[in-house]
């Protein structure tokens, strides 16, 4: 049973984690917040940004602060599924030779799948089971992964040659897609100072897996009004051009819309955000704030949208504007 004190200390805990991460990572407040939101909501994140923005460092820092086992997998075209899931190897024992399972890098709490779009679809799908089921099946034996289990995949928006774009089914399994922006001049200066200068204060472990699970439980108990929930669901439905009541912008520029997982992601992340803001209920503003990261990787534009230079972000913003007027 959750206690009142735990609820009241939620915000403080999150601030503590944030402050620790800020010792290693300069700027990127929105990225960090969304990352923490997804972590507490129990989802996986797709990070997209040009190389050198500190994506790997961010995830590593997070795992240090949360004292969670961390694995980094650099995806390459020759990476095999067994390389990430683990495999059975023959081990010589006193009793004789036997097969022993050697767990792969997936057997950690925080997984960084670097440049996931460079691996083959076969290898990508091996990650799929881990992300969705939180278990790995090798030689017919299903082995559960720990909890919390957090997969952060990264993607490079440039250098698309020789890559294997993630299929929609796999993209849908990521709760959020977070865009990592290039730092500002001031932030760049701080980054350079932090990384090329002398020693700096090391990050502390301020939380653990159990605490994160507890925080998740607290977030799941945040109430949501019927009107707000209906708003979130309508937003997802309005991304489908084939459904009745779809707005003009969807019918004109969208090829296919978001799945029910998008609605789940919206509600879960909105709950966490509300608590982070110091409220004990989900508001329309929470849905609006989480709409972009939840939907941008779940909607595909049609030819007309692409030819007119529209982006998914434009379409989502227009949808939100349209819905706000009719709220």
């Amino acid at each position: 049973m959750i206690s009142k004190e735990e609820i009241l200390s939620f915000g403080d805990k999150i601030d503590e984690i944030r402050e620790e991460i800020a010792k290693e990572i300069v700027g990127q407040e929105t990225v960090i917040q969304q990352l923490l939101t997804a972590l507490i909501a129990g989802g996986n994140v797709l990070l997209e940004g040009v190389p050198g923005l500190g994506k790997t460092r961010l995830v590593r820092t997070l795992s240090k602060v949360a004292s969670l086992p961390f694995s980094r997998i650099q995806f390459t075209p020759d990476l095999m599924p067994a390389d990430i899931t683990g495999t059975n190897i023959i081990v010589k024992t006193e009793a004789g030779n036997e097969f022993r399972f050697q767990p792969g890098p997936l057997f950690a709490s925080v997984i960084l799948a670097d440049e996931i779009n460079r691996a083959t679809p076969k290898t990508q799908s091996a990650l799929l089971e881990a992300m969705q089921e939180q278990s790995v099946t090798v030689a017919g034996v299903s082995r559960p992964l720990g909890d919390p289990y957090f997969v952060l995949a990264t993607q490079n928006p440039i250098e698309q040659e020789g890559t294997y774009p993630l299929p929609e089914a796999q993209l849908d399994r990521f709760m959020l897609k977070i865009l990592v922006e290039f730092p500002s001049l001031q932030e760049l200066g701080q980054i350079v100072g932090l990384t090329t200068g002398g020693e700096h204060e090391p990050v502390r472990q301020v939380t653990d897996g159990e605490t994160l699970l507890r925080l998740r439980q607290i977030a799941q108990s945040v109430p949501i009004a019927e009107a707000v929930q209906a708003y979130a669901l309508k937003l997802v439905l309005h991304t489908h051009p084939e459904l009745p009541g779809a707005p003009e912008i969807t019918r004109s520029f969208v090829r296919y819309g978001a799945s029910p997982r998008a609605a789940q992601a919206l509600i879960s992340t909105a709950r966490v955000r509300a608590l982070m803001q110091g409220r004990y209920n989900v508001a329309f503003e929470d849905i609006d704030a989480m709409a972009l990261p939840c939907l941008r990787h779940r909607i595909a534009l049609n030819f007309e949208g692409l030819s007119q230079g529209r982006t998914v972000e434009n379409v989502i913003c227009d949808l939100l504007q349209d819905m706000a007027q009719n709220r």
Binding site: K4, V222, P223, A227, V228, R279, Y280
Partner: protein, 503 residues
């Protein structure tokens, strides 16, 4: 947990006030529009009390709008939505929904959320968040319409004259009604029942005159009263004639029926005085009607004294009722009729072609006679001026001047003539000097006739039987017709009219 409903009461009240203001202003716009329509209608139809109506319309719309806006209930859900919309971020809506899930032990999250919502509501500044600000566009439209409506008041309204003339008419009818009532109060006949009936008829007439909105209504009321009075007198006249017939005085009865005063007097002379007195006395004794009895007794006494004209008058005072001779009550009616005709003419002048003018010009009322019209030249001059009143027709039938040629009916505008007929008998001029009458003639060609009217026949306290003056009327009319340059068909109208009066 303290219910949120209590905390939302001030919000609901504020929302009702805001709605009341909005609907009140909307009502003002609608009222102003309706008032403007009324104002515009006032240019087409004569509407009494237009400004009052417009003001009432506007005021009623504002009040109605405001009242409905205030009384229309604001639900708790709506109030919760409104405060959340003003920055409370779904706190109140969530708390209200989760209030229903209250059980013995509350989940701490629900409790905290509810407390958070209440705290936010307490800190909520209603005045800043829900200002009582009307919608500018509606306000501008409403004021614009009001200004337009007021501005129309500066435009000359042709219906104003109509309303004024109607008001004057009503005033005149009020005066006439008062005169009729006064006359009714002074009415004295021998028969108390007849007195009562006459007073009732006159009382009803006074009421109807006050109610009358047009000359047609007034004249209709006068006709009705006259018919009732005639029916009342007719009974007495029939009784008198029957009694005389029973006494074998058929010739006298015939003379009385004709209404010829000379004939009646001759018949009285032809009878033997003694026998006549006897017959009259016997008839008086036999009759049941007290007024007939009194008339017969008076006639018998007058014959006994040798005063035949007195006897003739006594008999005619009853008999002449059937031929329309004016008694006291009839004189009142005739006076009112004249006043109605004059007032109707004034109304007709205010509104050319109106019913009032039509009534007057068609000469529907005997004795009204002032047929001065500004009508088009094709209107025939039918202003027959018979009866007691200024019986003059001043309307020419499009008479066209041809020097040296006889007058022909043309399409020129009618000329107003002065004093073609003059009042021979006017109860309002009894015992006073007559007026000078002038008649125009052609320059160097015609003749000028002057006539000085003597004082009116009879006195203010007497009734002069019509048959006594009808002949003179007729003669004067024929003379005037010959002297005037009326077309032949108009002359014939006048002649046939007076001929019918003399029948």
């Amino acid at each position: 947990m303290k219910p949120l409903e209590t905390a939302l009461r001030p919000v609901r009240l504020r929302m009702r006030l805001e709605r009341s203001l909005t609907w009140g202003i909307l009502g003002m716009a609608i009222g102003a529009g309706a008032a403007l329509m009324l104002r515009l209608g006032g240019f087409l139809w004569p509407i009494k009390g237009l400004w009052v109506l417009c003001s009432l319309c506007l005021l009623a719309s504002i009040l109605l709008g405001g009242l409905i806006g205030f009384l229309w209930p604001v639900s708790i859900k709506r109030a919760a939505y409104q405060v959340d919309h003003c920055g409370l971020m779904a706190r109140v809506q969530t708390a209200l929904e989760w209030e229903k899930y209250q059980s013995g032990e509350e989940h701490p999250m629900i409790l905290l959320q509810h407390q958070d919502a209440q705290k936010a509501l307490e800190a909520f500044d209603i005045r800043t968040a829900l200002p009582l600000r009307p919608r500018k566009s509606v306000l501008i439209i409403a004021f614009g319409l009001i200004v337009l409506m007021v501005g129309l008041g500066l435009v000359p309204n042709p219906q104003h004259e109509v309303l004024q003339s109607k008001a004057i008419f009503k005033q005149e009818m009020g005066k006439q009604a008062a005169l009729v009532e006064e006359g009714a109060g002074k009415l004295e006949t021998t028969d108390p029942k007849e007195n009562q009936e006459s007073r009732k008829i006159l009382g009803d007439l006074a009421r109807d005159l006050r109610k009358a909105d047009s000359p047609r209504e007034a004249l209709s009321a006068l006709d009705q009263a006259q018919r009732k009075l005639e029916n009342l007198w007719k009974n007495d006249a029939d009784t008198l004639r029957n009694e005389l017939a029973n006494q074998g005085k058929n010739d006298l009865v015939s003379a009385l029926e004709k209404g010829d005063a000379k004939d009646t007097e001759n018949e009285l002379k032809a009878q033997g005085a003694h026998q006549l007195v006897q017959s009259l006395t016997q008839a008086a004794q036999q009759t049941t009607s007290s007024s007939v009895q009194q008339a017969l007794s008076q006639a018998a006494q007058a014959v006994a004294e040798g005063n035949l004209s007195q006897a003739q008058m006594a008999l005619n005072s009853i008999a002449a009722a059937s031929s329309g001779s004016p008694g006291q009550a009839a004189a009142l009616i005739q006076m009112a009729r004249n006043a109605t005709a004059r007032a109707g003419q004034a109304m007709g002048n205010a509104v050319p072609g109106s019913a009032a003018q039509a009534l007057v010009s068609l000469g529907l009322q005997a004795g009204s006679g002032q047929g001065s019209g500004s009508g088009v030249g094709s209107t025939p001059g039918q202003g027959a001026g018979g009866g007691a009143g200024k019986g003059s027709t001043n309307l020419d039938a499009g008479y066209q001047n041809h020097s040296g040629n006889p007058p022909v009916q043309g399409n020129t505008a009618p000329k107003e003539k002065v004093g073609v007929y003059e009042a021979i008998y006017d109860p309002t001029r009894l015992d006073r000097e007559g007026e000078l009458t002038r008649e125009r003639g052609d320059i160097g060609d015609g003749e000028t006739t002057q006539a000085q009217l003597g004082p009116g026949l009879g006195s203010v306290d007497e009734n002069v039987p019509y048959p006594q003056v009808a002949l003179e009327y007729s003669q004067s009319a024929v003379q005037a017709v010959e002297n005037a340059k009326l077309p032949t068909y108009a002359q014939k109208w006048v002649e046939s009219y007076f001929a019918s009066l003399l029948e």
